[in-house]
Subunit: 415 residues, 2 copies
């Protein structure tokens, strides 16, 4: 990826900053749920690593790739420290120093994370018998080198590797923003090839950065079935639908309406204004040129890429499901479709707003409109999906996530 590409991608692909209502920090409970579900795999991974590494390091170096900015960022670091300390306690050794590198693209809101670090240190010291953790922020794309050679014991990435370095090029996709039943075959092929290229590069780069015996745990969105046209990414079809709505929707300006009625204006001027008004909130060409830079692989694809690339052994691969509305994990509590639709739209907005505003040049009022529409489509989908119009049952659809644990192979990266 060139510097220009990183800079462009960074400007578009970063979560909503700050702590406000639409921020990622306030709307990342789904991502927290994914971290929780992957936690047993993380524990197993660290145990294995401790058996792999001959001598215990004096300082345990970890990296969280695609850390974003919000309560999940330091939560992951805390989880890892706790697991390592528990293992050290069992083995009667003492690990007193941790170095945690938080990585994301340069436009990520690191300032907001950094402001919370003093209280993170305070809580850590109170809870864990004086362990020193040194946190630093590493801006850059994980499709480039980020760390010195052989410097990391553990690489962790949660809910980030489904982001491609860029969308596949030269594809025509019939009003869709991702692979769907109406996509021509080259669309799926283009996406799969881009993922293969990106993921292979990711593996090669990380194998240069991880110590012998070190370990990598990656959690990302995957498909539960080989069929790429399945229902797993229906939420993206619904986003296309919401964008198409905006093409046909017309903004209403009271002042322009008055202008049309004013007797002093000629019919010609009035018509020009009227035609301008009739343009949709986004243009068809803008939708045609938008491809979502994302890919959800099937687990066999992941296995094949890891084997072919050759830098890592794939130790464990696990598929688990998370509800679109992650709050819906209690059998006793049922959510209605409308509430779930709004919640899912809010979660997606925190992730997608910058990208959509950047591509479609959306005004604030149009962004609100888009996500209101999206919430509506999500709600309708949930109702149909579950045949549950009385709102008395849980109506959330599940997405899939893969947790893959890799150990550097003894041969090292292939040339």
């Amino acid at each position: 990826m060139s510097v220009e590409e990183i800079m462009t991608r960074s400007k578009l692909l970063h979560m909503n900053a700050g702590n406000g209502e639409c921020s990622y920090a306030s709307s990342s409970t789904l991502q927290r749920e994914v971290i929780q579900q992957a936690k047993p795999v993380l524990e197993d991974a660290i145990k294995k690593m401790f058996n792999n590494i001959g001598e215990f390091p004096k300082c345990f170096n970890m990296a969280d790739l695609g850390c974003s900015s919000g309560p999940n960022t330091l939560y992951t670091v805390l989880n890892i420290i706790k697991i390592v300390q528990m293992l050290c306690h069992d083995k009667r050794c003492k690990m007193t120093e941790f170095q945690a590198y938080l990585n994301d693209l340069p436009d990520n809101d690191f300032n907001t994370i950094f402001k919370t670090i003093p209280s993170f240190y305070k809580n850590l010291k109170q809870a864990d018998d004086g362990a020193n953790c040194f946190v630093s922020g590493v801006p850059g794309s994980f499709y480039e080198r980020l760390f010195p050679s052989k410097s990391l014991h553990l690489v962790h990435s949660s809910y980030s590797l489904h982001w491609l370095s860029k969308a596949p090029e030269n594809i025509e996709n019939n009003n869709n923003i991702y692979i769907t039943r109406t996509s021509p075959p080259p669309v799926f092929e283009g996406y799969m090839k881009q993922f293969e290229k990106d993921f292979s590069r990711f593996l090669q780069l990380r194998s240069e950065e991880i110590v012998t015996g070190g370990l990598m745990l990656l959690t990302f969105i995957g498909r539960s079935i080989p069929d790429p046209y399945g229902n797993d990414t229906a939420h993206l079809d619904l986003l296309s639908k919401s964008l198409i709505d905006l093409i046909h929707e017309v903004e209403y300006f009271a002042s322009a309406y008055n202008f049309l009625l004013a007797p002093s204006n000629s019919l010609e001027i009035a018509l020009i204004v009227f035609i301008t008004l009739l343009q949709g909130l986004i243009e068809q060409a803008e939708l045609d040129s938008f491809d979502y830079p994302f890919y959800a692989p099937y687990k066999d694809e992941v296995e094949t890429i890891v084997q072919t690339e050759g830098s890592f052994y794939l130790d464990t691969i696990k598929l688990f499901q998370v509800n679109w509305d992650e709050r819906d994990n209690d059998d006793d509590v049922c959510f209605d479709a409308y509430s779930s639709g709004k919640h899912v739209a809010r979660t997606m907005r925190a992730v997608l707003e910058q990208m959509l505003v950047g591509h479609f040049q959306l005004a604030n009022s149009v962004v609100d409109s888009l996500f209101e529409r999206y919430a509506y489509h999500l709600a309708c989908h949930l109702l149909v999906q579950k045949g549950c119009l009385d709102h008395s049952k849980s109506v959330t659809t599940r997405a899939e996530a893969l947790a893959a644990m890799g150990i550097p192979s003894h041969e090292g990266p292939r040339p």
Copy 2:
């Protein structure tokens, strides 16, 4: 320092963010001049370090403490890389990896630095034969541990260590914000003790983080003479003067004036409004409770603290002078006092605005007022100082800076 203290200090003691007119990024040419002046010491320091270190490291780890946010931040890193590469070239070795840690308090504007990193990498690769530099941001006070034990080859800090962890407590200072001729003796003593405590702690912490044979180069404001009441910090006396002006200055509200004249208001209400108006822009009590958390030591004081603390050998100490108006370094070009006053006030504003706004709760208009007044006092001072009312001579006063190079002592830190 407690977490609460770090958080409070961080909120007050950080340079103006962003890239705007009043930002530190746009007003840090004085600090750049200091870096330039200290560069020969940096070169000597790195040469010495290369002789000290037995085996060449595969990755050269450096830290810049108090990096701030602006063009100087990565300029220092680039300087160090160039010097190391030149030495490597002479010794026919190759250093291909650098890790650069940029440290400042958690409220520093790291986001602005991080956005410039992709183009920094690009320029570096073009200029330096493919060296990989990995930059990361480390939020925290340098009066706390920041890095794992024995992990750094070079610690650098420019124009930061004159900032104390806090101002001395329980001092009464007659309308002054720093040591001046009208300060009672306990004021100087309080400041000196606070510096001694902070600087000793700094040395002890850094000695834990630097590898054996590694090196530290510190540049900070110092006094050229033992007398603490000399003219070196006249710019702080002038800042006190500007703050006192604001106590006696009254803000004029056109709307309130109209209110006073309106016949429907009783005399009583009119008087209350009038009294409110007569209050100054800041209050005397606010000035009395403000002590500038800064200290400019004499070089003998620095030597004594380094010897007493015992973790480092002081290898070199050098005093050099920088003009208040750093543009005035060319004998052929003369600046007038008014222009210099404005420039110095702008430089100081980028550094001090957050602290002053935080303590005095200043509105934007009052901040503008304060720095206009400050520019005026600076200009008058420059004119008197040089007896140069015809503006035909250079009128800038010089400040002093110390560059001290330290090498960890073999005994290590004292308990």
